[in-house]
Assembly symmetry: C2
Homo-oligomer: 265 residues x 2
């Protein structure tokens, strides 16, 4: 999310599949990919023949603090050498290649990769060039194809975005879907005795304020008001707040009336 | 995925929740957000007080073809006016705000939003400033909080990336998880009679090539070879390819032997 920074007091999550960027054209995109990897606990970056050379200061700028991933990145001359120590590789592509390989989305792929890593089979993900993607020859070196559900009229993802979504599904699985925080612990719902005492308070004050226009409609209006407060699921603290609000409104009104009486008297 | 372009022959997917960028600092990020929206079938963009003004040519560059989303974007002076016609809004944040609101990940939020849209309750997602996110006052206007599982030591997502991941979960749900393509239809597995005929072919040729070192080991070696081919799950076409390969290897060898005999004779 925007607005969160680097927090050096927390452990940096590492590991996961190797991310292999094949002939990335722009350092900005390598940096954005490294940032996305850092967000989602991926730490192993390999670059095949980056067009602007390596290291690249523009990558550092766009990594926004994921420097360690760039510093540890390794460079290879071609895909074969970049994957030679791995046991399973997946090629990301938006286009059908007519190859008889398993095709998986990012969620199924995360599960496949996690299973293999748990069995000590090291795994990698190939991402292609910004404009032209992976060559079909490169896809033919992979065990499986990774693709995403996208708007068919506009399927071109930014390289950093593609890495981010694959990383997101990886981290969602690896972290058991745990979100970084939960709502603050709620105090328990109020007892009905306390809720009904609040109803009594409100209804008495409304009656003295001549809120109810006609005696015939009073029961149904009262039921509607009770239903509003029922829907909220009020806690004891909520009730204390609401009692205070009613009292303040009543006293304010009486205060104003008393002042007006004084002025006019 | 990188390497796919804009395809004007396919229908552009539209609709979904409104995306509201609150005081975005850089046109680049507005453009990247619009591109991600286009990738995942979101079309309604609202901007609250964009720092660099509007329209912004840098946004067009970074939208990479999602121009229609930028052209239809509307600008508001504050969050209240940007959400006034909506029924339900969620605020994205990486930081706990201590507010008693439901906290959801992008997958649960997609389901919540889809349900409300189906009930004709229009919905929106608030994304904060690149550096500082949403102010707590702005979060307090929302019905629910959206957050993502991220590396706690490096939780700062690029704005376009945050929009992309939320959009990805939206489109995954809206499209029923359908991937843009599947592996080509596989021809059915070969009949066992055809498979065993291939075993016969291989084993006869290996025997005439004197592949089996000892008669004692021949049965176990044969079983190992059969197991390799069993694991593949061969189709009739695969068998035709393999028969051809074996024949070519045998004839090549005989050809070489014949040539050598001729040279030496």
């Amino acid at each position: 999310m925007p607005g969160a920074g680097t927090d050096s007091t927390k452990p940096w999550h590492e590991g996961g599949p190797v991310v292999i960027l094949v002939e990335p054209q722009l350092g900005e995109n390598v940096g954005a990919a490294a940032r996305a990897m850092g967000n989602f606990g991926l730490s192993r970056l390999r670059l095949v023949n980056p067009r602007e050379g390596w290291p690249n200061p523009k990558a550092v700028t766009f990594a926004s603090g994921a420097d360690r991933i760039l510093e540890q990145a390794t460079v290879f001359p071609d895909v074969r050498s970049a994957v030679s120590d791995l046991k399973f590789i997946a090629a990301t592509t938006a286009r059908e290649r007519g190859m008889a390989k398993p095709v998986m989305g990012a969620d199924a792929m995360a599960a496949e990769l996690a299973g293999r890593l748990a069995a000590n089979e090291d795994v990698g993900l190939l991402f292609g060039r910004e404009r032209t993607g992976l060559y079909t020859e490169e896809v033919s070196l992979a065990d499986a194809i990774l693709t995403l559900p996208v708007n068919p009229a506009f399927a071109s993802l930014n390289l950093g975005t593609a890495v981010a979504i694959v990383g997101y599904e990886w981290y969602k699985l690896a972290s058991g879907g745990a979100l970084p925080f939960q709502p603050p612990e709620r105090s328990p719902l109020a007892d009905k005795a306390d809720l009904f005492a609040f109803f009594d308070h409100v209804e008495q004050e409304l009656e003295s304020a001549e809120f109810f226009r006609s005696p015939e409609k009073q029961p149904s209006t009262t039921r509607n008001i009770r239903n509003i407060f029922h829907r909220v699921g009020l806690t004891r603290q909520d009730l204390a707040t609401l009692h205070g609000m009613i009292t303040a409104l009543v006293e304010g009104r009486e205060g104003r009336a008393a002042r007006r009486a004084k002025r006019e008297g």
